[in-house]
């Protein structure tokens, strides 16, 4: 402890160069005087200063005389060592405007702390940027008056340089940030900072230092400045998504539509006062447009898909189905989402699942088209066949994006297909069973060409299965007798007014070791734009022809025998009824027998089935019609059964014989009208066959005294055979015989010629 410090200079010890300089300094010629007389505050501060490594200086007394240590010397630069002992104002005269007030404040009792003062210092022979913080502290004496100030400096170069690099980095980041950024200051939103992206957005206009409304006039009226005003005034940030803005992207260019995602963030000072707005955001125009296009095309797709009657669905590239149109839900009765993924397979008929799943897996693995048929369960548990198809949809890079699929109801086609297959099979079997062949040929200018057929047909037509033969080859195989009939038959079939049906029976020339064969070819002409075709069948009818021939022989033999029998009956009658006195009777008997025989001819010709009224009349009147039109016949041609034909023939023979003897045909002028109809009705409304024999212009009629054979034949046999009734009117002007019978009885009746016996 020093009781009398004033006498000693220990406080000046140490302190390196500046310690030495202070000790050597001639203080006596300055305002501070001899250091031994310095006040204790100064002495303490000098001691602290000289022992500290930190830069420090002291300004003392009203003159503010400077004392400083080695640490501070470099800051004085070329002012060192001149600055020692000189007034602060003199030392820092060039910057006194800046530092003077701080010094004044310290002398007024207000300490000041100054952060980051930059100095250029020479270190290791090189000029180096340095940074320091300074604290200016007032120094009070015992009486609390300000006697000086004490300044300490702290080098913060390293910190500053580090944070400066950070700032630079941030600035760079800011500048190069993909999002646009701008700092707008003040209520007029003056551009303070913009980055590259922002400049890009606004077409590289020079906007710094300009009010937003002046810098980007085209934005006015679009609501953005108003938003800025609001953010600035309320301090509430604003976040905009996909906002539309019209901007000039190049000087003088037309305004362009852009879409922006951005935020307006208020900037506050340390005191919390809003000083500006920070704008940051992204130009999402391309994204927005793509999105809009996709929304548009998606909407289009959905609309289309819903308007289709088919089931429409989509699937992810993985094959999981993710969307179905309403038709699918309506058909299946499934709820939304139930069919997603692989849920749809629950609709597929269990039997069809393996094939459908395999097809779908194959398609999704190869990104190839998908096509399969399966039965899908309807809401009412009925299964209907569907054709499922799907196409992979790729984007412009070829990447599979999704699948679009459809299911089309093919139940009816399927049923038709099955029915067709079945009917085809049936037809095939039937044709085979019937030994029928199917053939067709083209008709070119009336000539048959390009004959083709199945094996059966070719064989039947005399060819060898598989051979390629011209139509002429087939024609040459036809028996020459039948060859001529072919052309007229074809012409009839192809005639404009014809029915288009070719129906021919002809013989095929036998090949060695074979019998002659009959075939029946029947074909329908099909006329189309491509031309005329004949399509038909052919079958072997040799057996039928043989049977027909045998039957013909039999019928002929039968006729012969009947005729011979009748001839014998005739001979017996002739023998029995000998004598001139009964020659009339003999003659009429024989005539009746002849009439009966001729009626048999008709039936034999028709194999005992039927005979027409005209033919019956012609045969019965053969012996009476002199050819001078005295017998007038008028009526539609109707078919009669065998019994009816025989009895009508005998009846007409009797009537004609009688007329020739006593009636209209016995004179030169008499006539007979034979008429019949089948269009009248009886009293019950049934269709009626009415046959009338009317004699006119003959001699006056005498009613016969007794009924002869003819009368009895007509009234009994004829009426019975026709299931009808007869009347004979012996009117004076001419005999009228009428037969009426129900139409349905015509042509009926057994083929047995039992009537022959009865008629006899």
């Amino acid at each position: 402890m020093q009781s009398t410090p004033t006498n000693r200079l220990n406080f000046l010890s140490g302190g390196g160069e500046m310690g030495e300089r202070i000790r050597q300094f001639d203080w006596n010629s300055g305002p501070l005087g001899d250091p031994r007389g310095w006040p204790s505050e100064l002495r303490t501060l000098v001691q602290v200063m000289l022992t500290s490594q930190q830069p420090m200086f002291i300004a003392w007394g009203p003159e503010r005389v400077m004392l400083y240590n080695d640490g501070y010397a470099p800051m004085c630069a070329n002012r060192h060592p001149w600055a020692l002992g000189r007034p602060f104002e003199e030392v820092w005269a060039d910057i006194i405007k800046d530092v003077g007030p701080i010094m004044d404040a310290a002398y007024a009792g207000v300490p000041t702390y100054m952060d980051d003062i930059e100095f250029l210092m020479t270190r290791h022979g090189k000029p180096v940027e340095t940074h320091f913080s300074f604290g200016y502290t007032p120094v009070h004496d015992a009486s609390d008056g300000i006697v000086g100030m004490f300044c300490t400096a702290l080098e913060i170069t390293a910190d500053v340089m580090q944070s400066k690099a950070e700032v630079d980095r941030l600035r760079e980041l800011f500048s190069q940030a993909p999002s646009f950024m701008a700092v707008l200051s003040g209520p007029d939103h003056v551009f303070e900072i913009t980055n590259q992206a922002y400049l890009q957005l606004i077409g590289h206009r020079d906007v710094l230092g300009k009010r937003a409304r002046d810098a980007l006039p085209e934005v006015a009226g679009q609501g953005f400045y108003e938003l800025l005003d609001t953010v600035y005034s309320t301090g509430e940030p604003f976040v905009g998504h996909g906002l539309q803005i019209y901007l000039q992207r190049e000087p003088g260019a037309a305004r362009e539509e852009r879409f922006l995602d951005f935020i307006y963030q208020p900037i506050r000072s340390a005191a919390g006062v809003i000083t500006g707005v920070f704008a940051q955001g992204h130009d999402i125009t391309d994204q927005k447009r793509a999105e809009m296009a996709s929304v548009k095309s998606e909407a289009k797709f959905t609309q289309l898909a819903q308007s289709l009657p088919n089931h429409v669905w989509t699937a992810k590239p993985s094959g999981e189905l993710d969307w179905f149109n309403d038709q699918v839900y309506a058909y299946s009765g499934a709820g939304r989402g139930e069919l997603d993924g692989t849920g749809w397979t629950l609709l597929v008929h269990p039997e069809d699942v393996p094939s459908a799943a395999a097809a779908w897996q194959a398609a999704t693995e190869n990104a190839s088209h998908y096509k399969t048929e399966f039965r899908l369960r309807r809401f009412d548990d009925a299964y209907r066949w569907h054709l499922a198809r799907a196409t992979p949809i790729a984007d412009e890079t070829g990447q599979l994006v999704y699948w679009v699929g459809t299911n089309t109801d093919i139940e009816e086609q399927k049923a038709a297909e099955l029915a067709l297959r079945e009917s085809e099979l049936q037809v095939k079997l039937a044709l085979s069973a019937a030994r029928m062949g199917v053939w067709e040929c083209d008709v070119v200018e009336g000539v048959f060409v390009n004959l083709r057929g199945d094996d059966q047909a070719i064989t039947l037509l005399g060819g060898v299965p598989g051979e390629q033969s011209s139509f002429e080859t087939f024609t040459s195989r036809i028996s020459p007798e039948d060859r001529d009939g072919l052309r007229p038959a074809a012409e009839r079939a192809l005639a404009p007014d014809g029915d288009g049906v070719l129906d021919i029976e002809y013989r095929i020339l036998p090949r060695a070791g074979e019998k002659e064969r009959w075939v029946h070819a029947r074909a329908q002409a099909l006329v189309s734009a491509a031309g005329t075709r004949l399509v038909g069948t052919v079958r072997d009818i040799s057996h039928r022809k043989e049977a027909e021939a045998r039957q013909q022989v039999l019928a002929s033999e039968l006729q012969h025998r009947i005729k011979n029998t009748l001839a014998m009956v005739s001979a017996i009658a002739t023998q029995t009824l000998r004598g001139e006195d009964i020659s009339d009777r003999r003659s009429s008997f024989n005539a009746r027998l002849e009439a009966l025989a001729r009626a048999h001819d008709l039936l034999t010709a028709a194999t005992w089935e039927s005979a027409s009224v005209h033919a019956v009349l012609a045969s019965a009147l053969a012996a009476h019609d002199s050819g001078d039109d005295r017998i007038v016949i008028e009526g539609v041609d109707l078919q009669l059964g065998p019994k009816q034909a025989l009895s009508l023939a005998l009846t007409v023979h009797e009537l004609a014989t009688n007329a020739a003897k006593y009636g209209a045909l016995s004179t030169d002028n008499g006539k007979v009208h034979i008429t019949w109809t089948n269009s009248g009705f009886d009293e019950l409304g049934n269709r009626q066959f009415k046959f009338v024999w009317r004699e006119v212009d003959g001699p006056p009629v005498q009613v016969p005294r007794h009924s002869g054979f003819g009368t009895r034949l007509i009234s009994r046999v004829l009426a019975a055979d026709f299931s009808g009734s007869v009347s004979i009117d012996y009117a004076p002007e001419g005999v009228v015989s009428t037969l009426t019978a129900p139409v349905e009885s015509l042509g009926s009746g057994p083929h047995v010629p039992a009537v022959t016996e009865r008629a006899l």
């Binding site: 011979n564 014998m568 002739t574 023998q575």
Partner: protein, 122 residues
């Protein structure tokens, strides 16, 4: 009526029918020769030169039927007039020798007789 007998050869294999027509023709004044088949008929024709009319059935047993008989007669004895009958329907004209007439069985004997008189008088 002719002053001479008209000679007719009836060829018919059925005796009853033959008897009927032969008797009837005889009653009508014809001279009638009869044969049961074509061979007999040829024999008779060879031995008898007065026959003017041949009346033959077609369907007969033996090598030669009535059609062939008629053809042979037309060949060997051209003046003889030929009338043919058959239980079959009328044969085609080309099968009959020229000038031959045909009657279907059963025929009316009176008609046959009348026809023969017409032939004889022609």
């Amino acid at each position: 009526m002719a002053h001479f007998k008209v000679v007719v050869l009836v060829v018919e294999d059925e005796p009853l029918v033959r008897m009927g027509i032969v008797d009837h023709l005889q009653e009508q004044g014809f001279t009638v020769l009869e044969a049961a088949n074509a061979d007999e008929a040829i024999t008779i024709l060879s031995q008898n030169t007065t026959i003017q009319i041949l009346f033959t059935d077609i369907d007969m047993p033996g090598e030669m039927d009535g059609i062939r008989l008629a053809a042979a007669v037309r060949e060997r004895w051209p003046p003889i007039r030929i009338v043919i009958t058959s239980g079959h329907r009328r044969p085609l004209g080309s099968d009959l020798p020229s000038g031959a007439q045909f009657f279907a069985k059963p025929y009316n004997p009176d008609t046959i007789a009348t026809t023969f008189w017409d032939i004889a008088e022609a």
